[in-house]
């Protein structure tokens, strides 16, 4: 298992501030809806990837995270499209329902460990997709649900209108990503986060020290479920449509690849970097005219990252290496790496 990077030391507040400022200015720098849309979707995936990484912190390898996106997405899609709710309460309820589902599933399933847990979550993911397909009276099956757009928010002289452009969605996504990142960062810093790592690194020792494994696993799974559900709701509303094939096994695998390629050393930096880079890369591959080269390049990049940035340090570690070697030039850090 790898050591977790303490990004408090590596990334100074000024840099974080600069990055946040840059992100906030994106809609002013570019008004291209296509670019914005790629950023929004990578933000949405980043939330799900953060959830996956949190579950992985407790040593559980979930192959069903897309199912919680589907639960969240369907909750708010059904509420808005079938029952006439407005976006905001449906959005919040999506997170709650997904969290509740994660809690209930977690209570039953998390006592199974290792690869068996992965297979159970994989199967549940497929079951959710099939149920969404068959339960036509509620989910409208394959014909899909058309989700409602959030109502315009009047702000006196100015109105935030989700119909006319994607900029409000961009800021909504940025807010949600920032909130998720803040929560996950606080969890990672706290006693709880260290307990997660302890549970994963040595379950037997952790149990002997009086830590109840299930408690930590269920907490991580539920928190991940809540945020993944919110991401799913945003996904469904941003794309305006939700069909059962949109969130299945392949999307779960995509989440997992983004997480590992981005780096699991940090709960926040790795997932965000991994999803933005991989998603953008994937979007630009769609323009290539040679059939099959998209998949080939995507696969090659994943394998290369795993070969050259090993042990799940991922792309985020490039930053850590750059900072420690080029900016700080401190011997101490290099020694740390050598030991590792």
């Amino acid at each position: 298992m790898m050591t977790y990077i303490d990004y408090k030391d590596v990334v100074p507040k000024a840099v974080i501030g600069l990055v946040v400022l840059l992100i906030l200015l994106v809609p002013i720098i570019t008004t291209n809806e296509s670019t914005l849309s790629i950023l929004i979707l990578s933000g949405i995936w980043a939330i799900a990837v953060m959830g996956f990484t949190l579950v992985l912190r407790t040593g559980q390898f979930s192959l069903g995270q897309a199912a919680f996106m589907a639960i969240g997405g369907y909750t708010s899609a059904i509420l808005t499209a079938q029952m006439g709710w407005s976006f905001w309460p449906a959005f919040l309820l999506a997170g709650l329902v997904s969290g509740l589902a994660a809690f209930l599933v977690g209570m039953v399933v998390l006592r199974v460990g290792g690869i068996y847990f992965s297979i159970i979550t994989l199967s549940l993911c497929e079951v959710i997709r099939i149920v969404a397909q068959q339960w036509e009276s509620v989910t409208r099956g394959a014909r899909g649900l058309i989700t409602a757009q959030p109502n315009p928010i009047p702000l006196g002289f100015f109105e935030i209108n989700f119909f006319s452009s994607t900029v409000p969605y961009f800021y909504l996504t940025v807010c949600l990503v920032a909130f998720t990142a803040l929560v996950f960062w606080r969890i990672g810093e706290s006693r709880l986060g260290r307990s997660f790592a302890g549970v994963a690194l040595n379950p037997v020792l952790a149990e002997h020290q009086g830590m109840y494994l299930m408690k930590y696993r269920v907490i991580a799974f539920t928190v991940a479920g809540v945020f993944t559900g919110l991401a799913g709701s945003l996904y469904a509303h941003f794309l305006t449509v939700l069909t059962p094939t949109m969130l299945g096994l392949w999307q779960s695998i995509q989440i997992l690849i983004m997480s590992i390629v981005g780096g699991i050393g940090s709960l926040v930096g790795g997932p965000i970097i991994g999803s933005i880079l991989l998603y953008t890369f994937g979007s630009y591959l769609t323009r290539l005219d040679i059939y099959g080269i998209q998949q080939l390049l995507f696969g090659a990049v994943v394998v290369l990252v795993l070969l050259f940035l090993p042990k799940g340090t991922g792309l985020v570690d490039l930053w850590g290496r750059f900072w420690t070697k080029v900016i700080w030039r401190e011997k101490e850090f290099e020694m740390d790496e050598a030991e590792e």
Binding site: E33, L41, Q133, G144, Y235, T245, S283, T286, Y291, Q294
Partner: protein, 405 residues
């Protein structure tokens, strides 16, 4: 020194004049974006149309079309949509906002809502086909999507296919209809209603996505007494079905699919020569329609395209599905632009398209919306069918597609 300056100046002026002159003759390009599937399991069906589309556009561009004294040409830009709504929306946004397309064309089903939303927000005209989403009960709503043109009535054609089968085999016992479960939806409901109304005997079955082993479904059809099974557009499954029913000994069960044969050789190779005999498919290429009149100019053009593509790919190119889609979309579009006298005012062009009459590859079509799905526009190829005999496909029967009430 002065001499050189004069020579350079003369050269410069010559180049400039020629440049300007050629620039004036140079046709102006109109970009048509096409989000289509180019990766993943469905990619062959996006890929197979690419060469003929480009060849057809090249032929069309030789003449081009004139609007307000200027000559215009079409250019097709394709972006992979990965066959998902997410990919469809992303591809449509790239085409509209990065490439500046004012027109999109495409013929998918489950991407329709996301692409249509993007196109309508940008006031971009979307030429597509009718299908699961694009009928009442689906997501289509003429008020929500005013820039959508159903330039091809796949839905009506699918229903008419069944009628054509009945015309060809009037002594049939029962038709089995097989579709993948992800195709469930309003289109299937409408088909069932239309077939019931026409008094056709049939049973319907669904298989899960990715099924290659169809033995259980063959057995179910057999027990229900079907002697014809028609499969909704799943080519790989159709070939597997034909092969497996042959191996199970149900040799008198006829099998067909909606969609033209991709290449007869492929069916013979996958199903086996004996099992592939009598396979039914849609039939457009050779234009040997018996009830529908085809403009000879377009017959010539299409045959030329088949030859060009055969030469390019180095093997006979028999696929005919492309004829019904993009060529007709572009013909309607170019004529609408001429009538509207503009190439970029999409509102004016839509106004002309609604209720207008256009010359298409299969004759004049009036885009009357009152009769069809609440949408303004439907154009339809006839449901002409063929069967595989030996190693060739031959004409079977035909049923003209009419807009549904």
């Amino acid at each position: 020194m002065k001499k050189w300056i004069i020579i350079w100046a003369a050269l410069f002026i010559t180049v400039l004049t020629f440049g300007l002159a050629s620039a004036q003759n140079e046709p102006i390009i109109i970009k048509v974006g096409m989000p289509t599937v180019l990766s993943g399991p469905a990619a062959p069906w996006g890929q197979v149309g690419m060469d003929p589309y480009h060849a057809w556009i090249d032929l069309f561009n030789k003449e081009g079309f004139k609007v307000g004294g200027k000559t215009y040409n079409f250019k097709l830009i394709t972006v992979d949509d990965k066959n998902t709504p997410e990919g469809g929306a992303a591809a449509a946004k790239q085409l509209i906002y990065s490439d500046g397309c004012k027109f999109l064309a495409g013929h998918w089903t489950w991407n329709f809502p996301s692409v249509a939303t993007v196109a309508n927000q940008a006031k971009v005209i979307l030429l597509t086909r009718t299908g699961n989403e694009a009928v009442p009960g689906g997501v289509y709503d003429p008020k929500k999507f005013p820039y959508v043109v159903f330039a091809n009535d796949s839905m009506g054609q699918y229903i008419a296919d069944h009628l054509a089968i009945v015309e060809a085999y009037p002594k049939y016992k029962k038709i089995g209809i097989l579709d993948c479960v992800i195709g469930k939806g309003p289109a299937a409901d409408i088909t069932v209603a239309a077939l019931n109304k026409a008094g056709i005997r049939f049973v319907q079955e669904w298989f899960p996505f990715g099924t290659q082993d169809l033995t259980p479904y063959i057995t179910r059809f057999k027990e229900a007494g079907c002697d014809i099974v028609y499969i909704a557009g799943w080519v790989g499954e159709t070939m597997a079905f034909a092969k497996q029913r042959w191996e199970m000994g149900f040799k008198d069960m006829k099998v067909g699919h909606s969609g033209p044969f991709v290449s007869v050789d492929m069916y013979l190779a996958v199903s086996g020569k004996d099992a592939a005999q009598g396979l039914i498919g849609q039939y457009w290429t050779s234009w040997e329609f018996k009830k529908t009149k085809v403009n000879p100019k377009y017959i010539k053009m299409c045959k030329e395209v088949q030859e060009i593509v055969s030469k390019k790919q180095g093997k006979p190119f028999n696929y005919t599905g492309w004829v019904g889609w993009l060529p007709n979309h572009l013909l309607i579009l170019s004529q609408a632009m001429q009538k509207a006298g503009t190439v970029d005012d999409t509102d004016a062009i839509m106004k002309v398209i609604r209720g207008g009459t256009f010359d298409t590859t299969i004759g004049k079509w009036t885009m009357s919306g009152a009769k069809t799905y609440g949408s303004p526009i439907v154009f339809g190829c006839p449901a002409a069918l063929s069967v595989i005999k030996g190693d060739k496909e031959v004409y079977l029967s035909e049923h003209p597609t009419k807009p549904l009430p």
